[in-house]
C-alpha cells in the first residue's frame, strides 16, 4: 500500500467512527459545559481539580473511580463520551470533542503503558471571563418573536421548541428576563388589539345583515331598485354606476350577494333578453341583429362586470345572454341571414356569425346551411343550359369566392372545407357528362394559340384551379375523351400555344389520376417528336428532291393513342398525291411491315395566292386547298356545286362547310352566286378578283378547329362504348372470382369497381348481353343469381 491510499483509508475511517457520536456528544457537551458554567458561582468559575468534590453530575460520576486513574477515564471517554474536556472551558470545546477524545486517549494510553507514577490533572480557571456575542440578545429575540407570531397566527413554528426554550433560558441566565418579558408583552398586546378590532367589525356586519334579512320588504325593494337601474342602463340610459357599485359591495360584504341579489338579477336579465331577442330577431336585418348580440355580450361580459357586477356572476350572465339572444334563434338566424350574407359576400358578418354560433355550439347547423346553400347555388350554375358557355368560368369564380370565405370567415375550419368539397362534388355531378366536357373545352381554349393575354404564371395558376374542378368530376373518361380530341387538333394543326404549358397540364393530370390516365396522351406527344425526327431524315433523303416544290410534312400517328376519325374521301391533285406516295415509300423503307392511312381531313396547307390587288399567304385546310386549286390559272371561271363535288369527291356536308368558309366567311376568296349565307347544291362559284385584305397572312382554316355536332356526338358515343366494355370486363372479372353471385351483390361490387357513373338499367343490359354470349348464366333454381361459365 502506498502512502496516498493509506491516507485515504485513515481519512475514511475516522469520520465513520466518530460521525455517529459527534452529533449527540456535541449537544451534550455544550449543554454540560453550560450547566457547569451556570452552576458555579459567578466570578469563581472552575477552580477545582477533578478529584475535588463537586455537585455537578460529571463530577459525581468520576468520583466513583477515585483515585482517578487515566485508564479508566480513557475507556469511559470512548464508551459513553463523557466530556473530559470540561476543563477546556466555555464555547471552544464544542469544536471537536470526540476527535479530541480519541487523540487524547491514545496519548494517554501510551503514557499508561509506561506505568509511571500517578499524576494529578489540575484544571484551572480561565483567566478572562467568557463573553456573550455582542448582539446575542437581539438576535435571540428576533427568533423568539418569529415563533410568537407563528403561534398567534396558527402557523407552524419555524424552530424546534427545545431550542427556543434553551434560548429563553440563556437569556434569563444572563439577567435579561425583564427585558424579554416587556418585549413579549408588547407583542401580545398588539395582537389582541388587532383581534379585537376585527371581532367588533364582524359583529357590526353580522348585526346589520340579520336586520336586513329580517326586513324583507326593505331588502326586496333595494334589490328590485338596483335591478331596475340596471335595466334602465340596458335600455340605453346612463345611470349612477358608482352608487350601484357601492350597493353591490354592501351585498358582497354582507355575504348576501349570492343569496339575495344574484338570483333575481339573473331572472330579470333572462326576461329582458328573451323579449329583446324575440323582438329584434324579426325586426332587425340579420347583420344588424348579429352585431347587436355581439354588442350585448360585450356590455354584459366586460362593461357591466367591470362597473359593478361581481365577477363571480360572469359565466352565468354570459351564458344567459348567449342562450336568449343566440341559442333560441339559431334556426331563424341561419334561415333568414345565411343565404343573403353569403350571396353578398359579407365576410365580416359571416365571420361574426361563425364566432357567435360557435359560442352556442351551433356550428354543425351552420355547416349544414353552408352545404345546402353551396349545392343550391352551384347546382344552378351547372344545370342552367343557357349558361353552358360560361359555366366553367362561373364555377371557377364561385370556387374562389367560397374558398376565401372558408379561409377568412370560417377560420380555415377543416370541417367546413370538407363540406365545401362534398357540396362541389355533388352539384358538379348533378348534371352528367356536360361539366366534364365543358372543363375539357375550357382548358383547350386556354392552351390554344391566340390566347396570349395570360402570362405563363397566370396560365399555370388557372390550370391549377381548373384541375380542382376536374378533381370533383366522377366521369373523368368524358373529360379525357374531349381533352384528347382537342389536344390532337392542337398538335396536328399546330395550334398549341406552348408545348411547356401542354406538358405541365399533362403532368398535373398524371399526378391527379395516375400514369394510366395519361399514358395515351403522352404517346401523342411522343408521336409528334418521332415525326419531327423522321421528317428531318426525310428531307435529307434523295427522294425528297422530287417533291421539293410541294413540301410535305407528315405526322405519323400510332393508332391506339389518337382519337379515331371516320375515313374521308377526297381526290387529291396529282402532284399532292405524288408527294404522299413519295413519303409513303420512304416510310416503308424505314419501317418494315407497316401501313399508312392518310388522315386528309386534318391536313392543312400554306398557300400563296396572287390576286389582282395583291399577293396573300393563306392558311387553309387541305379541303379548302383542293377546292381553291380548281380555280387556278383561270382554267374555269365558274364552277357549279355539283362540278366541284365531282372533281374533288368530298362528301356533301364537308364540301358545303368548306365552300361556306371560302365564300361566306370573313375572307371571301370565292364569290357565290347567288350570294347568301348558306350553300346550296344549286349554287355556283367563281373566284373573287376584287379580293382585298389588310393583312398579308390570312387564316381561313378555323373551321377545322371548330367542333361539329357530329364530332361531339361521336366523342360522346365513343366514351359510352368504352364504358360498356369496361362494364363487361368488370362483370366478367367479378364473376370469375365469385363463380356464383346474386344480382344485387353483383351490382354493388360493380358500383365499387367502376370509376364512372352508371345506371342500373344499363348494367342489366350488359348482363343480358354477357348471358347471350355465354359468359354466364342464370342459376336454374334461383333466377336472381348468376353463375360464371368458364
Amino acid at each position: 500500500m502506498d502512502n496516498r491510499s493509506r491516507l485515504r483509508v485513515a481519512h475514511t475511517f475516522v469520520p465513520i467512527a466518530s460521525s455517529k457520536k459527534r452529533k449527540s456528544s456535541n449537544t451534550l457537551a455544550s449543554q454540560q459545559t453550560l450547566d457547569a458554567f451556570y452552576n458555579t458561582p459567578r466570578g469563581e468559575a472552575l477552580s477545582t481539580t477533578l478529584t475535588t468534590k463537586s455537585d455537578s453530575p460529571l463530577n459525581k460520576r468520576t468520583k466513583k473511580s477515585t483515585p482517578f486513574d487515566l485508564e479508566n477515564m480513557s475507556q469511559r471517554s470512548d464508551s459513553d463520551h463523557a466530556p473530559t474536556n470540561v476543563k477546556l472551558g466555555f464555547v471552544t470545546p464544542v469544536t471537536t470533542p470526540s476527535n479530541g477524545n480519541a487523540s487524547n486517549s491514545k496519548l494517554l494510553s501510551g503514557n499508561l503503558r509506561t506505568k509511571a507514577a500517578p499524576k494529578k490533572l489540575i484544571i484551572r480557571n480561565f483567566k478572562v471571563k467568557p463573553q456573550l456575542p455582542p448582539n446575542y440578545e437581539d438576535e435571540t429575540w428576533d427568533r423568539l418573536k418569529r415563533a410568537v407570531h407563528a403561534i398567534q397566527n396558527h402557523e407552524k413554528v419555524p424552530e424546534s421548541l427545545e431550542t427556543l426554550y434553551k434560548s429563553c433560558e440563556n437569556l434569563c441566565h444572563h439577567k435579561m428576563a425583564d427585558r424579554l418579558y416587556t418585549r413579549l408583552r408588547e407583542e401580545c398586546e398588539k395582537h389582541v388589539q388587532v383581534e379585537l378590532q376585527r371581532l367588533s367589525r364582524d359583529m357590526g356586519l353580522e348585526l346589520f345583515r340579520s336586520q336586513l334579512l329580517k326586513e324583507t320588504s326593505l331588502r326586496d325593494k333595494i334589490v328590485a331598485g338596483a335591478i331596475d337601474v340596471i335595466t334602465t342602463e340596458r335600455s340605453g340610459d346612463t345611470i349612477n354606476s358608482s352608487l350601484l357599485q357601492s350597493l353591490i359591495r354592501i351585498f358582497i360584504d354582507l355575504s348576501l350577494y349570492h343569496d339575495v341579489f344574484e338570483e333575481p338579477f339573473l331572472q330579470r336579465t333572462q326576461l329582458f333578453y328573451r323579449s329583446e331577442g324575440e323582438k329584434l330577431v324579426h325586426s332587425l336585418d340579420m347583420a344588424e341583429y348579429l352585431q347587436h348580440a355581439d354588442q350585448r355580450l360585450k356590455e354584459e361580459g366586460v362593461e357591466r362586470i367591470n362597473a359593478y357586477i361581481d365577477p363571480s356572476s360572469k359565466p352565468k350572465l354570459i351564458k344567459l345572454v348567449e342562450a336568449e339572444l343566440l341559442e333560441r334563434h339559431v334556426d331563424t338566424i341561419l334561415e333568414k341571414g345565411f343565404q343573403p350574407l353569403l350571396q353578398d359576400n359579407r365576410k365580416d358578418i359571416l365571420a361574426l356569425m361563425y364566432r357567435l354560433l360557435s359560442r352556442v355550439h351551433a356550428l354543425d347547423k351552420l355547416r349544414t346551411y353552408f352545404f345546402d346553400n353551396l349545392k343550391k347555388t352551384g347546382g344552378a350554375i351547372v344545370t342552367d343550359e343557357s349558361r353552358d358557355s360560361t359555366m366553367v368560368q362561373s364555377l371557377l369564380a364561385y370556387k374562389q369566392k367560397i374558398d376565401s370565405i372558408v379561409a377568412d370567415t370560417f377560420d380555415h375550419n377543416p370541417q367546413f372545407a370538407n363540406s365545401m368539397r362534398e357540396a362541389f362534388e355533388s352539384f358538379i355531378n348533378s348534371r352528367q357528362n356536360k361539366p366534364a366536357e365543358l372543363i375539357a373545352k375550357f382548358v383547350d381554349s386556354r392552351l390554344r394559340s391566340g390566347n396570349k393575354t395570360a402570362t405563363d404564371e397566370e396560365l399555370e395558376s388557372l390550370l391549377d384551379r381548373v384541375l380542382i374542378l376536374f378533381r370533383f368530376i366522377h366521369g373523368k373518361d368524358v373529360f379525357e375523351a374531349f381533352y384528347k380530341r382537342d389536344l390532337a387538333k392542337r398538335l396536328l394543326l399546330g395550334k398549341s400555344a406552348s408545348i411547356d404549358a401542354e406538358k405541365s397540364m399533362l403532368s398535373k393530370m398524371k399526378t391527379e389520376c395516375g400514369p394510366g390516365f395519361t399514358s395515351k396522351l403522352e404517346g401523342m406527344f411522343k408521336d409528334i417528336d418521332i415525326s419531327r425526327d423522321l421528317m428531318s431524315n426525310f428531307k435529307n433523303h434523295k427522294s425528297y428532291d422530287d417533291i421539293k416544290d410541294l413540301q410535305i410534312y407528315v405526322n405519323v400517328l400510332t393508332q391506339g393513342f389518337w382519337p379515331t376519325y371516320p375515313p374521308v374521301e377526297i381526290t387529291l391533285p396529282p402532284d399532292m398525291a405524288n408527294s404522299q406516295e413519295v413519303f409513303k415509300n420512304f416510310y416503308m423503307s424505314k419501317h418494315n411491315g407497316r401501313r399508312l392511312m392518310w388522315q386528309n381531313n386534318l391536313g392543312h396547307c400554306v398557300v400563296k395566292a396572287t390576286f389582282p390587288k395583291g399577293k396573300k399567304e393563306l392558311l387553309v385546310s387541305l379541303f379548302q386547298t383542293v377546292v381553291l386549286l380548281l380555280f387556278n390559272d383561270k382554267k374555269r371561271d365558274h364552277l357549279t356545286y355539283n362540278e366541284i363535288r365531282e372533281l374533288t369527291n368530298i362528301e356533301d356536308k364537308e364540301l358545303s362547310r368548306t365552300l361556306q368558309s371560302l365564300a361566306c366567311g370573313n375572307s371571301r376568296v370565292l364569290k357565290k352566286n347567288p350570294p347568301g349565307r348558306d350553300v346550296n347544291s344549286s349554287d355556283s362559284f367563281s373566284y373573287n378578283d376584287a379580293f382585298t385584305a389588310s393583312l398579308y397572312r390570312l387564316k381561313i382554316n378555323t373551321i377545322q378547329l371548330k367542333e361539329t355536332v357530329e364530332e361531339n356526338t361521336r366523342t360522346r358515343e365513343g366514351v359510352f362504348q368504352d364504358r360498356q366494355y369496361q362494364v363487361d370486363a368488370a362483370i366478367v372479372r367479378i364473376m370469375k372470382t365469385r363463380k356464383t353471385l346474386s344480382h344485387n351483390m353483383l351490382i354493388n361490387e360493380l358500383f365499387e369497381q367502376l370509376r364512372f357513373p352508371v345506371k342500373a338499367t344499363d348494367i342489366k343490359k350488359r348482363i343480358e348481353s354477357l348471358i347471350d354470349r355465354e359468359y354466364m348464366e342464370r342459376e336454374s333454381e334461383d333466377s336472381s343469381s348468376y353463375r360464371y361459365l368458364a
Binding site: 407528315v554 405526322n555 391506339g560 393513342f561 419501317h591 418494315n592 401501313r595 392518310w598 380555280f631
Partner: protein
C-alpha cells in the same frame, strides 16, 4: 387567281401490315393491340414475321422460343423459326 401550295402538313396513322382483326397465334390478342405484358400498342410492342409467313407479337415469340419445349420452331407449323429478312 394564281394558287401555289408552299407546304402542306398531313397526319397519317400507321398500322401493322396484317389482315384486319387478326390475332397473334400465341396470345390470341389482336396484332393492333399489344402483347399481354405490354400496356400500350405501337412501337413498344412490335410484330415479327417469320419466313414461314406466320406473324406474332415479338415479345410473345421470344418468350416461346426461350421455352425449352419450343425447339426453336414456329409454334404454328413446327418448322425451324427463321425471322423474315424483309417483309413485303
Amino acid at each position: 387567281m394564281k394558287i401555289k401550295v408552299n407546304t402542306w402538313t398531313v397526319p397519317a396513322y400507321w398500322s401493322w401490315d396484317v389482315e384486319n382483326e387478326d390475332v397473334c397465334g400465341i396470345c390470341q390478342v389482336a396484332y393492333d393491340a399489344c402483347c399481354p405484358t405490354c400496356t400500350v400498342p405501337g412501337d413498344g410492342c412490335p410484330l415479327i414475321w417469320g419466313e414461314c409467313s406466320h406473324v406474332f407479337h415479338m415479345h410473345c415469340l421470344i418468350k416461346w422460343l426461350n421455352a425449352p419445349n419450343s425447339q426453336e420452331q414456329c409454334p404454328m407449323d413446327r418448322t425451324p423459326w427463321k425471322t423474315a429478312a424483309a417483309h413485303s
